[in-house]
């Protein structure tokens, strides 16, 4: 079920490009990007990292959520060139050494998804939230903090359960914090 068509994305030829140096999922990267290229499109089209999804392209759904310097952000409303020098983490960077991140593992076990399209965004928000002591730990606070991630399949109940389970297992390891945060 892994998709073989997932091959060889190309660097677009545009009139002008700019050089972008940033860290993507722990790896330093240098790219030529168009000044008007949006981080989400660069990830999906230029770098072939399709895990970050596009559900609206206008900050209205959360499917495109990534971490920038450890903070959850909508990659559809951020120019790629704005990420100069920053640490960007996408869903592809959650699992380490082939081992699922505890949040991924709990999403699997709690069936915290259906079609899976909002799921990377949900998990990126979830991992950021679990690292953010400013956000309350009760269900109501979690639901409010997660409300920027729409799940049209309506798997909300299981998503919250997966998050709370991840919190409870102190297998959730604070050293996983990426970026500056």
């Amino acid at each position: 079920m892994d998709d073989s068509v997932h091959s060889r994305p190309r660097v677009p030829e545009t009139l002008g490009t700019q050089t972008l140096n940033f860290t993507l999922n722990g790896e330093p990267r240098t790219l030529e990007v168009a000044p008007n290229a949006v981080l989400l499109d660069v990830l999906r089209e230029q770098l072939g990292l399709g895990g970050t999804k596009k559900g609206c392209d206008h900050g209205q759904c959360g499917a495109c959520t990534v971490h920038v310097d450890g903070q959850a952000m909508n990659s559809c409303l951020r120019l790629a060139v704005m990420c100069e020098g920053q640490q960007v983490t996408t869903v592809e960077g959650l699992a380490r050494d082939g081992e699922l991140h505890p949040v991924q593992q709990n999403f699997l076990e709690c069936d915290a998804y259906q079609c899976g399209y909002c799921t990377p965004g949900q998990m990126m928000s979830a991992t950021a939230l679990l690292n953010d002591e400013r956000i309350g730990t009760d269900d109501a606070s979690v639901k409010e903090a997660m409300s920027g991630n729409i799940c049209r399949c309506g798997a909300y109940k299981n998503i919250v359960e997966a998050i709370q389970r991840s919190r409870a297992q102190l297998g959730y390891d604070a050293t996983r914090k990426e970026g500056a945060a």
């Binding site: 895990g51 991924q104 069936d111 079609c115």
Partner: protein
Amino acid sequence: MNDMTRPDFDKPRVVGQRTPRIDGEFKLTGRAGYTGELHVDGMLYGYPVPATIANGVLESLDLDAARAMPGVVDIFHHGHFEALHRSPNSMAHGDMVNEVRLPFEDERIYYHGQYVALVVAETFEQARAAAQRVVARYREERGAVVSLLQTEAEGTLQESAGSTRGDPEAAFGGAEVKVDSTYHIAAESHLQMEMHATLAEWRDAGKRLVVHESTQGVFFQRNAMARVFGLAQENLEVISHYIGSGFGNKLFMWPHSVATAVAARMIGRPVKVVLPRQQDMTSGGNRPASRQRIRLGADRSGKLTSVIHDSTTETSLVHQYVDTCGSATPSFYACDNVSTSQRVLEVNHGTPCPMRAPGEVSGIFALETAMDELAVALEMDPVELRLKNNAEQDPASGLPWSSKHLDECLTSAAKRFGWEQRNPAIGSMRDGDEIIGYGMASCTWSAGRQPCEARVELRADGSLFAACGTQDIGTGTYTIVAQAVAELTGAELSRIEVKLGETSLPAGPLSGGSMATATVLPAVAAAARDALDAIKEVAVGSGGAFEGSDPDSLAAQAGGLTDGERRVSFEEILETSKLSSVNGQGSAAPGDERSEYAFRSFGAHFVEVRIDPEISRVRVTRVVSSIDIGRAINPPTARNQVEGGIVMGVGMGLLEKLDYDPRDARLINANVADYIVPTHADAPEIDVELLDYPDFKHNEFGGRGVGEIGLTGVASAIANAIYHATGKRHRDLPITIEALLASS
């Protein structure tokens, strides 16, 4: 016949057990390839240009500025497009489409968002930038039909979509207690998270077309494209491995797919089009608005004597779509005098299409709200009213139900909900600033089944492979197919690979109508049995692992065969006989049982709302449901479907509405911020019970489908709870703040 390879479906080992999704890891790591993120060599990006009016004529297109933009390769439109043919649009022949009109077919504009051009460029940014530079000039015409909700027009009667038994008019006339109410539901958007997407690639010098499409029906799309392009079906391949859900609007082909394939052929390079959200909403399907009148007659004891259900729904000017609201009504309650009628009205909207529980979900809102009104008129508990009218056999066909446990759903959910604590007096239950309302409704969805083929291979490397040309739209089809194979072969789930979503695979059904489970699993089981027969033949053959044994004496056990004393794994058997694999084919179709029994799922939703009248706020805080879907093949994914349906029901009840400008029928809230759906914070506390009564008359696995039923009835239960809290009967959806204010 030896029955040892038949699993004991009364005590299955894997089927019916909690099974984490086998495709889960792909979805959770970002490796699952949804159509929009696929890449092929030399691929270009297309961006459609939508009409900005809803009624008129496209007078001219000025393309000079757009053509001059960097990266632009070509721009397609009415004057620059291939001549094609329409699809016959037949359900029975598997080539139904969602919009029969081809893209750019003429220069008339029938709806806002209709494509007037397709810009193709080297990159996504370039295609979008150039599309915004296309200047279209229109002659707008007055008189656009904006919405069913803004006209008295009746629409055209659809004889075939109605039914009558007994003499409902006379019975209604003479009824002791009557309800006569009219209900309106605004048009809704599917708002599936993944927009429609097509990647079209011509191979073999333009003779073969490979299309990646986010679709709920690869075979339907293949067949329709074959008709449109005049290609042999064999020269077309449609692929859809992961689908960011569809809820019905990806069942059949839309014009963007045709436009993409034409662009790819004319340019000679693959083209990908992902509809921007606005166009997905204007031009990629919607649930049409409905107007429904329900008349109920009953005697003093609460026995229904008449049910008359008259509905009108919208369709577009370019395609006839009938959203039959009354289709559940004749089977819902025991009543001798029942009629339904259906009309459709043409409006200047993008074409509506099936959306989760199409027709029925609207119909059940009206019927179950009317039942609540009847309960009030009778001063009777609404649960009791439903129990009293429970249909012991299908009143529409006169056939016995294959399996029905609505009464248990009603009583069990009522108990878990705490219905007995309900004080029936309006507004009597308070907590601080809030009034608490309790409401309930029954829900139902028909249990269909289609013919299906499948293939199962047993391989020398120890793996098993199952294939079927159906799709997994998030309901968990990959996993239940693996479960079925595991059940029959005893193999570990981790050894089973499942392939779906390709027209090169054995023909499978649409992922829709809650039919996939009951359709696919029997075919997969037949294929698995055939594969077992094949490996037994190998095992008993000369030099085989069970050389000389009677094949009927062998049974599958733990991924191998056993004669009762000795177990040999499939891989060993194949290796011993120097084979790489054996193959089993299977097919299954509904049979005589369809004329002996009626098949339908039922359930009940109980809803708590909290209303703070001084700030006009209503929130659904708790939903308790009991649903009878036969056996749940994978209980967590089945429950997830119902929970998701409940969340969508909250949207339907309180939030969702496509807003068409009353002056010109333009859709003004075609985005995810202004078309509001429930968020995490809107999701109520949900408790879903799935009754476990396997329905072996439906199929050997005992499962009926579960995708739609959870949504039906929810909006009515909410409206009924609001009535209990406020005494105001809401018959129009969504129930907005304005409506609440107007009632206070």
